[in-house]
């Protein structure tokens, strides 16, 4: 659709000039980066490695109030009003891929208005991974450090400029709005970007061959390996909260004197309370069942329900797990189980 170039020092002006949009961007927060509506462009951070809280939180926030009410009067919906169009800037290609896994869940036969109100209103601008990180394995799950869907614009950081690829109409609109800052890209910049794409792909060190894992999983549901693999897991929520494709949530009521609200918050299948019945019975009582459910959900059930693997290979669950529960190690252990 078109290739442009933006001088690196012009990035802040580029984002500032889009003030009729609500711009979400990775913001420096100590040693990690948070995804927030950016106010002060100084602490915009393009350090993709420390994006712990991911672009998913721009369309599926960790805490979102569904409606407010007072003592059984008719509830008023919140977070559904028509909002300014939003731009989500600085998305890693693997995180962008996760939108394609979240969308079918929240669309489906009963669409979720809260997610779709934000998602359909968002323009996605990605930044290609020129330097993949320690545990990236996106190439093993059909992804790529320079993959484009479902982005509207893809930035690639060359030495002095950003190389911008326009992918969709929405992206074109943004470039038209900022035409004074962007210039058409020259062919050698394009070659430089292709070259970078190629070398970046070759830098990915972690790999796993996924074929016939779903068939292997069908047979080993009762296998004792799950208990062994989960022995070191401490049942915290890091792997699920920092995972771009995890969408489980909890609904709770919170009241203050006569007023209250129903709120939707992220939840994790690794917590005990997740499937605990009021009677005390828990279909998944130990960490073995929970780890098994997480792997089955992403590498079997997601294929049964949506036809695609539920993982984008971003490697965060491997990097951030405090006790080194390694998804790739677990998947290879499953492949060898007889």
């Amino acid at each position: 659709m078109g290739f442009f170039v933006l001088q690196k020092d012009k990035l802040n002006d580029f984002l500032a000039s889009l003030e009729e949009y609500e711009v979400w961007a990775p913001v420096q927060n100590g040693t990690t980066t948070l995804f927030e509506v950016i106010k002060d462009f100084q602490n915009l951070s393009l350090d993709l490695k420390h994006q712990v809280l991911i672009s998913k939180s721009a369309v599926f926030p960790q805490t979102e109030s569904l409606f407010t009410f007072d003592r059984n009067a008719h509830p008023q919906a919140t977070n559904l009003e028509k909002k300014k169009e939003t731009i989500i800037f600085g998305i890693r290609p693997c995180d962008a891929q996760s939108f394609q896994l979240l969308d079918p869940v929240f669309e489906g036969d009963i669409p979720d208005p809260y997610y779709l109100n934000r998602r359909n209103n968002a323009i996605l601008i990605g930044i290609a991974c020129s330097e993949p990180f320690l545990n990236c394995f996106c190439t093993s799950v059909g992804g790529n450090p320079f993959s484009k869907e479902p982005l509207d614009l893809l930035f690639t950081e060359l030495d002095s400029v950003f190389y911008i690829e326009v992918i969709t109409e929405k992206g074109k609109k943004i470039i038209d709005k900022t035409s004074t800052l962007c210039a058409p890209a020259s062919s050698d910049e394009r070659k430089q970007k292709e070259q970078m794409a190629h070398t970046s792909e070759s830098k990915i060190k972690r790999k796993i061959d996924l074929n016939h894992i779903p068939e292997k999983l069908t047979g080993i549901f009762e296998h004792p390996i799950w208990k062994k693999l989960a022995m070191k897991c401490i049942g915290c929520g890091i792997c699920t909260y920092t995972c771009p494709t995890c969408y489980c949530f909890d609904i709770q009521d919170e009241t203050r004197a006569r007023k209250g609200r129903r709120v939707r918050v992220w939840d994790s299948c690794m917590f005990t309370e997740y499937t605990l019945h009021a009677s005390g019975h828990n279909p998944r009582p130990t960490r073995g069942e929970r780890l098994r459910n997480r792997i089955y959900h992403k590498f079997k059930f997601n294929i049964d329900n949506f036809g695609v693997v539920g993982c984008v290979g971003c490697g965060r669950c491997i990097t951030l797990c405090p006790v080194n529960v390694d998804l790739i190690e677990n998947l290879s252990a499953i492949k060898e189980v007889e």
């Binding site: 569904l66 409606f67 009410f69 003592r71 059984n72 008719h74 509830p75 919906a77 559904l80 869940v105 929240f106 489906g108 009963i110 669409p111 979720d112 208005p113 809260y114 779709l116 549901f221 969408y247 489980c248 949530f249 909890d250 609904i251 709770q252 009521d253 009241t255 209250g260 129903r262 939707r264 939840d267 299948c269 997740y274 499937t275 605990l276 019945h277 009021a278 009677s279 019975h281 279909p283 459910n293 089955y296 959900h297 079997k300 059930f301 049964d304 329900n305």
Partner: protein, 274 residues
């Protein structure tokens, strides 16, 4: 776009105590304030709750043939159900739904029906009985096998005694432990089923109750010659959204709230976690 999380407000018309004791069960008769038409199917559920406390998924205990109101039989168990049990007639509650696939009752036309319930498990079966009684000619013989721990744990006693006298259905009540003026069967429901020995010929068996009872009932039904397609049951899991999004009620790849809670044993058999 309709907001699936937004509940309707309904008023409690009447509360009938079904079972007393440590885990009391009451039947709540509720009607929508603004005449909202719920048009649910037999066997579907709804998310009932009190704004400020929470919601829980309860099967609708009245059949769609009963117009103008809904009935829910609720056992006092957790935070929401205890709050519901503290309500009186005239209080308002929030209802969201209907959810779940419900029983395929139209496919059962012309067949004999056996309902096998245990304790509170009789509540999801009650709409089947009411629907059959309302369209008595469309169905064959109706057997109601129902048991509970003690006689005051039996729900819908007056209705069932009524039916026992009449000709519309054969009622086989049972209690687990001997009691003085109890003349009917004493023992567990699966054993009562074996004693009655219903013929699988053109018959559908539906069972609800504690998980251990369901497992034995299905085993006995298979022994009696029932095929997998003829046996139906409902599964219960912790549910929060009711529309297959929040991810917690899954049994294998299927979600109990959306693809269930009613399953034929044919689908249930190859589900991993059952």
């Amino acid at each position: 776009m309709k907001n699936p999380y937004m509940p309707e407000i309904a008023k409690i018309i009447e509360i009938r105590d079904e079972a007393l004791g440590e885990r009391p069960i009451s039947t709540f008769k509720v009607a929508f304030q603004n005449g909202h038409d719920f048009n649910h199917q037999v066997g579907q559920c709804a998310m009932i709750g009190i704004l400020g406390i929470g919601e829980s998924m309860i099967s609708i205990a009245s059949s769609p043939t009963k117009k103008g109101y809904l009935e829910f039989s609720i056992m006092k168990m957790g935070k929401v159900t205890s709050a519901l049990h503290a309500c009186e007639a005239g209080d308002t509650i929030s209802i969201r739904g209907p959810y779940g696939n419900g029983f395929p009752i139209n496919e059962w036309k012309g067949k004999n029906i056996i309902t096998i319930g245990g304790g509170i498990g009789q509540a999801p079966l009650r709409p089947i009985i009411q629907y059959i009684l309302a369209n008595r000619g469309d169905f064959g013989q109706l057997d109601i096998i129902y048991g509970a721990r003690t006689s005051n744990d039996l729900c819908f006693k007056d209705e069932l005694f009524e039916l026992e006298k009449g000709k519309d259905a054969k009622v086989h009540l049972s209690i687990d432990v001997e009691e003085v003026e109890w003349t009917r069967y004493v023992g567990f429901v699966p054993d009562n089923l074996l004693k009655i020995k219903p013929s699988p010929e053109n018959t559908i068996a539906v069972t609800c109750g504690p998980l251990v009872m369901i497992k034995y009932v299905i085993k006995n039904l298979l022994e009696l010659g029932f095929s997998d397609q003829q046996i139906f049951t409902t599964l219960e899991n912790r549910m929060k959204c009711g529309i297959g999004k929040c991810g917690r009620c899954n049994v294998g790849p299927i979600y109990v709230c959306k693809d269930g809670p009613v399953f034929s044993f044919a689908t249930l058999k190859n589900l991993p976690e059952f």
